[in-house]
């Protein structure tokens, strides 16, 4: 518009330069302004977008984190039916911060002493005046006490909740479950063996399912405890096991402790006799020797005979029978009357090397195979294992195994000869049954049924019979080794039973340590008198729970053994 007219006066070259510069500067300023505006708009846009994003998808201020699922601080332990055996609860804890106490310390200490008499008023006063910042007064306090302490109204008293381990069934299966230390880590039993799983946040949400059944455990503990009290035994152990899977349905060791107050338990109570303790279990070993001999082709059947004199002298030692035959007797009779002499001869025929190989195969020379950490190693003659030791091991002396190991041996023998490692976890979707290992032949397993049923029907284990449940088994009375000598009076009695014998499903092993004679046992302390009745009572209690149908008419095929038994003796005083 105002284009420069051809000026009359030619502009001065400086002005022209000035106009060019101004334009340049103006353009530059525009550029900068535009840039700043863009930056500003971008920032605003970012903020707006972010706000919108938050409005649309963001969390609101009152959101509570971590409460969408109930994950305990330590995993639960439940039995096979889902009954809780160990749980973590929020327990009340009472503590005091002495520096924050504002009230009268003397009055406060007196009140505390009245409410919690474990310390005297003087001790509480000393505590309050010590100047230390913190004292625990009571952990796992009862709600009533918490209420009373709260009513004192002293701000220096702290009442808090903290996770605590609770065992609702108290001493039931205490040795299996174990307990935790003050930091909440497992110190024994399953708590110790599965500490990792129980405390890992990823796995602790799901309870750990044990193979234990509380009801069976209770029946076993109760009956065993009764017998222990009746015969004034110093200890007892019991195991109930599933023959086909190796699941331990009940395992107890008495005297037991209360895992809720594990610190109060004595070492004797804490000792797990079922897995950690090893004992010479005596004649309960005989079926293994016989099975070895049958599988090795030495014994062809229950009718095979052996010479059973009153005393057998072998390798410079005399072997006695508590009830000597003094004649030729059949294998069926040797089992029925639990003859050491007969069984020693069979063991001798098996031989040391073969016996070792068999015991190794059955898992008797190693630690018992179970998830628990408290496992005992069996005791054997070791380097002294000669022909005479072979004989004594044949009838159960000179080898010490854990009761669980014995149960495992019977389970192997009656599961068609297939070994399954014992397990404390329930076999199911999360824990598959591991493949078994064949130890004995199926035929041997089958033939042992009638032999062990014979022991209960006519032999030393008559009192173990539970009518209708076809219990078979073997008694065992071992003399205890005291100061290097076998005591003639102090025994360790055991019974290993299997039921129902026509189709074995469960093994029960019970053991009493040093039972005393009573009037009812006519002075005897042998297994037939004290542990066999425990088996009878326990089996009649647990068999219906386990789904074993009572049938008074069914039996294993007894025709295989009965023809080889001469006039059955009526006494049961032998082991």
């Amino acid at each position: 518009m105002n284009a420069p007219t051809p000026a009359l006066v030619a502009p001065r070259p400086e002005r022209l330069r000035l106009v060019g510069q101004r334009r340049q500067i103006l353009a530059l300023m525009h550029q900068r302004l535009m840039f700043g505006m863009l930056v500003y708009a971008g920032v605003i846009a970012l903020i707006v977008l972010r706000i919108m994003w938050l409005a649309a998808f963001g969390d609101h201020a009152g959101r509570k984190e971590g409460l969408t699922a109930l994950v305990p601080d330590r995993g639960d332990i439940v039995d096979r039916d889902g009954e809780p055996l160990a749980r973590t609860i929020d327990a009340w804890t009472i503590a005091v911060h002495p520096t924050k106490v504002i009230g009268d310390k003397l009055a406060l200490s007196q009140q505390l002493a009245k409410l919690m008499p474990e310390h005297s008023a003087d001790e509480y006063f000393a505590m309050l005046g010590s100047g230390k910042p913190f004292f625990y007064l009571r952990r796992r306090a009862s709600p009533a006490l918490v209420e009373a302490v709260n009513a004192i109204g002293e701000p220096g008293l702290a009442i808090e909740r903290e996770p605590d381990r609770l065992y609702p069934q108290t001493s039931l299966a205490a040795h299996v479950i174990g307990f935790t230390d003050i930091d909440g880590h497992g110190a024994a039993g399953v708590e110790r063996a599965f500490d990792q799983e129980l405390s890992d946040p990823r796995t602790r949400g799901n309870p750990l399912v044990l193979s234990i059944s509380s009801r069976i455990q209770q029946a076993l503990e109760h009956e065993l405890g009764d017998a222990m009290a009746q015969f004034s035994a110093i200890g007892a152990a019991g195991v109930v096991m599933d023959v086909h899977t190796g699941e331990v349905l009940a395992m107890t060791s008495l005297p037991a402790f209360n895992p809720n107050a594990a610190g109060q338990g004595t070492p004797d109570q804490m000792f797990n006799r079922a897995t950690l303790g090893v004992f010479e279990l005596g004649s309960t070993f005989k079926p293994f020797t016989l099975a070895m001999a049958m599988d090795s082709g030495i014994v062809h059947g229950p009718g095979q005979t052996y010479n059973c004199p009153n005393v057998l002298t072998a390798y410079g030692h005399n072997i006695h029978d508590t009830h000597p035959f003094g004649r030729t007797c059949s294998v069926a009779e040797i089992m029925m009357e639990s003859s050491n002499i007969g069984m020693a001869q069979i063991a001798d025929q098996v031989g040391t090397e073969r016996q070792k190989a068999w015991l190794k195969k059955m898992g008797f020379l190693d630690k018992v195979e179970i998830e628990l950490k408290e496992r005992g190693r069996s005791l054997t003659p070791g380097s002294r294992w000669g022909p005479f030791e072979t004989m004594t091991i044949g009838f159960g002396q000179g080898i010490a195994v854990a009761p669980l190991q014995l149960a495992m041996g019977y389970a192997t023998l009656f599961d068609g000869g297939v070994y399954h490692p014992p397990t404390i976890l329930k076999i199911g979707p999360g824990h598959q049954l591991p493949p078994g290992r064949r130890v004995f032949s199926e035929d041997t397993s089958y033939r042992m049924r009638s032999l062990l049923r014979l022991v209960v029907m006519k032999g030393t284990g008559k009192k173990a019979d539970a009518p209708g449940y076809r219990v078979g088994g073997k008694t065992g009375t071992a003399q205890k080794l005291i100061n290097g000598r076998y005591s003639q009076t102090i025994n360790l009695t055991s019974f290993a039973g299997v039921f129902p014998m026509d189709d074995p499903r469960y093994v029960i092993v019970v053991m009493l340590d040093e039972p005393k004679a009573t009037k009812d046992t006519y002075g005897f302390t042998t297994a037939g008198w004290n542990v066999a009745p425990v088996v009878s009572r326990t089996v009649s209690r647990i068999a219906p729970m386990l789904g074993v149908e009572p049938d008074l008419t069914r039996e294993p095929n007894m025709n295989e053994v009965l023809p080889f038994v001469q006039d059955a003796k009526q006494d049961t005083k032998k082991d």
Binding site: A56, S540, D551
Partner: protein, 258 residues
């Protein structure tokens, strides 16, 4: 022109409105989500409370405690093998009528003959009733007394085996049966009160008495019982006399027993 100049304003307003609408929707969603979370939290807290309560109940009702209570109060024990039945057939077998002699039954019989003494004099002096063909009166009285109360037992027992010494009285007893049975049935209610018999036992004899009265004529009701005795040997003809004999025998036994 004005419309054109306001167009941009409308655009802005509609955009803002849409954005606000979207925002409101998202706000609504967020609040719903928040309340859902509250519910979830409540569920978790309730689960925790449940857990605590379950634990407490489980602890108070632990097996050892139940066992202790059982030992001190209930004293229940595990069922024995013969207490466990394997199906409805075995259960039905339990309701089978009892065949054994109820030892309380004779008490009823003993009181039943009370009306009999009316006839006793007749028995003593046989010649008085010479006109009627009655033979031995006392014995006849006795057996009839038993007749009413325990016909069932006699039926279930092996009836035909034992002929009684009083066989010669074939014609006589039947008449007497009827005559003497009636008083006894009438007397029964009193007996029931005095002796506490189970309902079944009290009910059966009266039925059987009815049948005995009608028995000879009506065989329709009988086959059920006959089948119990011996299904392979139908005894419709012999039945009534034999029964009578057996009854006399039992009545004797009972009386001697007392």
């Amino acid at each position: 022109m004005s419309g054109r100049s306001f167009r941009s304003l409308f655009m802005v307003a509609s955009c803002a409105g849409a954005a606000l609408g979207c925002y409101l929707v998202s706000l609504r969603v967020a609040s719903e989500r928040a309340s859902l979370e509250d519910v979830e939290t409540k569920i978790v807290l309730t689960q925790r409370d449940l857990r605590v309560l379950q634990t407490e109940i489980g602890t108070r009702g632990r097996f050892a405690q139940l066992e202790r209570w059982n030992a001190s109060v209930l004293a229940m024990s595990a069922p024995s093998a013969d207490q466990i039945l394997r199906g409805s057939f075995e259960l039905a077998k339990l309701t089978e009528p009892q065949h054994q002699v109820d030892f309380r039954a004779p008490v009823v019989l003993a009181s039943a003959p009370a009306p009999a003494p009316q006839r006793a004099p007749i028995g003593e002096s046989e010649t008085d009733d010479a006109g009627s063909p009655t033979g031995v009166a006392p014995a006849a009285l006795l057996r009839q007394a038993s007749l009413k109360t325990e016909p069932l037992k006699t039926e279930t027992r092996e009836v035909p085996e034992k002929p009684v010494a009083q066989t010669p009285l074939a014609a006589g007893p039947q008449k007497r049966d009827k005559s003497i049975e009636r008083p006894v049935t009438a007397a029964k209610p009193a007996n029931k009160k005095s002796v506490d018999k189970p309902g079944l036992a009290a009910a059966k004899p009266s039925k059987s008495v009815d049948k005995f009265v009608l028995g000879a004529d009506r065989t329709v009701t009988k086959p059920v019982r006959l089948a119990k005795v011996d299904p392979l040997a139908p005894l419709p003809d012999k039945h009534s006399p034999q029964n009578n004999k057996a009854l006399t025998k039992i009545s004797k036994d009972l009386h001697t027993g007392r």
